[in-house]
């Protein structure tokens, strides 16, 4: 590290010094904020990712100090390393913004836009990207691609129509699990994420493909349709896990743990632990430990104020304290006579029913048995 020379690079008129070999994207992330180009396929924690989605295109207006010619075309910032004295334009270049709007349109070309159904809605990178850079309507008039449904087992739900073929999940399976069992089959328009012959993905650590997926193509089947992310309160928690670091984010509603994910940083990537390793979590932590008693809760997770997740005003007070009834405390233990207990009427959120403990999504059968 010490013998690599530091390169000065100017991105959107902000100069930063980075070691040689850093990509433009990582240099921009070092500055942070709006300067960092969006990335759908690049994932800094996965070797070899990037270069596929083209959302991180930037304009290089000055190649380097020695060769100040601009690069003739927009370059993918996740794959282009910086040179000394390089000048890069991201949001200051209308060319880049125009190209990015085009890329978003291409990404959405075959996207079913079923956000009301999709479990990823609210934390979807494609949703954010299209809100920031996309057009209001679509110009596509043809049938969107459809796929034969693939069952990936009890843990992971695949929605191939939503996939943007970023290959992140393929790299994750390669680099984290013992054996990769899924991949991208076929070519071009027919390319799809699948196992060769119906196989369920059950390798340990395979659950991380859910966190890595930038869209709703791979989602948690144990959380499927259980709740919307913005009604849950994210809490940092840990447990003593023999397989992984055990540091996770719990997505609670009341005392129920609806979902367990890895902790994500501001770029939507899995955070590093204190010792510098990436905090991937194992399947047991992610899918099996759905009780608050399994976890040591550290406190509420900080969520961006702009995020819809911070809208969750149903979750009660964010934090570990529960709302309490003040009436009986004030009236010497007497309970109010005219207060209606909402659970005596309401069919929703019954205290004795725990949706989070149902395996897989709830069905009409789950709700019918409840009435008896």
């Amino acid at each position: 590290m010490s013998d690599t020379p530091l390169f000065k690079v100017t991105i959107d008129n902000i100069t930063v010094e980075v070691p040689a070999g850093t990509t433009i994207l990582n240099a921009a992330r070092k500055i942070g904020g709006d300067v960092a180009p969006p990335a759908m396929c690049y994932y800094s924690k996965l070797q070899g990712s990037g270069g596929k989605c083209r959302t991180c295109l930037v304009e290089v207006s000055k190649g380097s100090e020695k060769d100040p010619r601009p690069m003739p075309k927009l370059v993918a910032s996740c794959r282009t390393t910086v040179m000394d004295g390089m000048e890069v334009k991201n949001i200051t270049s209308p060319k880049v913004l125009d190209a990015r709007a085009g890329v978003v349109e291409f990404l959405l070309l075959n996207h079913p836009l079923d956000c009301p159904i999709c479990d990823q809605a609210g934390e979807c990178h494609l949703q954010d990207l299209s809100y920031e850079h996309g057009a209001e309507g679509t110009r596509y008039e043809f049938q969107r691609r459809t796929f034969k449904k693939h069952d990936l087992g009890p843990y992971i739900q695949l929605h191939m129509t939503r996939c943007i073929l970023c290959y992140r999940c393929v790299f994750t399976a390669d680099q984290l699990t013992q054996k990769r069992e899924h991949g991208v089959l076929d070519r071009g328009d027919h390319a799809e994420i699948a196992t060769h012959i119906e196989k369920s993905l059950e390798n340990d650590f395979i659950g991380n493909v859910i966190d890595v997926c930038p869209v709703g193509a791979l989602t948690d089947k144990t959380f499927r349709f259980k709740n919307r992310v913005w009604f849950l309160k994210p809490m940092d928690a840990h447990r003593d896990c023999p397989n992984c670091c055990g540091k996770v984010t719990l997505w609670n509603r009341g005392d129920e743990v609806f979902r367990v994910t890895a902790r994500k940083d501001e770029w939507g990537e899995v955070e590093n632990t204190e010792d510098g390793k990436t905090a991937w979590i194992c399947n047991t932590c992610r899918f099996e430990k759905k009780k608050t008693s399994d976890w040591v809760i550290e406190g509420p997770r900080l969520i961006s104020r702009q995020s819809v997740i911070s809208q969750g005003h149903y979750a009660g007070k964010i934090g570990t304290t529960k709302p309490h009834e003040t009436f009986s405390a004030v009236h010497a233990g007497r309970s109010p006579k005219l207060l209606m207990d909402i659970h005596s009427v309401s069919e929703v959120n019954k205290p004795e029913v725990h949706l989070s403990l149902i395996e897989g999504p709830a069905h009409s059968t789950d709700f019918n048995t409840k009435k008896d």
């Binding site: 159904i117 919307r228 009604f231 819809v308 149903y314 069919e347 897989g360 069905h363 009409s364 709700f367």
Partner: protein, 192 residues
């Protein structure tokens, strides 16, 4: 010595009037002319058009933007449109809407339009302020506010509206009930 504040202070409006403290004249102290003058005004109103109507026998037409009871809509094939996306609940300023979602089973395609649907959907009409933000938030045109009132009730329990109360009748099997639930074109008997 007390200062007359009114003289020094600037009036906030020009509507303030000096109180007339002159003693009543003879005609005024008789009172009767003023009483007859008032009675004449009252009598003249008998011949004017009545602004009141005899509710509930007579009903006024609703304004086209009237926001009444919620209705969960079906599509033209009678399938429920709601997918339990939760946008109405997050948009609701009164936090009146709650729901629980479920996955559609094979064989239920004729009941629910999408793969995911609201197995439980509840609006607390005690909390609802009829602002119509749920209607605006809905991406599937599934919820809208009809032109009907929430009826009065003796207990609070009657104001928790579940899916059976909210769901519009199937337009294929019960077209009359479907039209009635929308509340449009209700016969109005008021003249205006």
């Amino acid at each position: 010595m007390p200062v007359n504040k009114n003289k020094n202070m600037q009036a906030l409006t020009n509507r303030a009037k000096e109180v007339n403290r002159k003693p009543m004249s003879f005609m005024e102290s008789l009172y009767l002319p003023a009483i007859f003058k008032g009675m004449a005004i009252t009598f003249s109103h008998i011949f004017k058009k009545q602004p009141t109507i005899q509710y509930p026998e007579q009903k006024r037409p609703f304004s086209p933007v009237f926001r009444g009871l919620h209705v969960l809509n079906r599509d033209e094939e009678g399938r429920e449109k709601c997918t339990a996306c939760g946008l109405c609940a997050v948009a609701c300023p009164a936090e009146a809407i709650t729901m629980e979602a479920a996955e559609r089973l094979p064989g239920e395609e004729n009941k629910y339009r999408e793969e995911k649907y609201a197995a439980k959907y509840e609006i607390n009409m005690l909390r609802c302020i009829f602002c119509g933000l749920c209607e605006e938030a809905c991406p599937k045109d599934a919820i809208y506010l009809s032109e009907t009132f929430a009826p009065a009730n003796f207990t609070r329990k009657g104001f928790i509206y579940g899916k059976p109360d909210l769901l519009i009748p199937d337009p294929k099997t019960d077209p009359e009930g479907y039209e009635k639930a929308k509340g449009r074109n209700e016969p109005t008997t008021a003249d205006n």
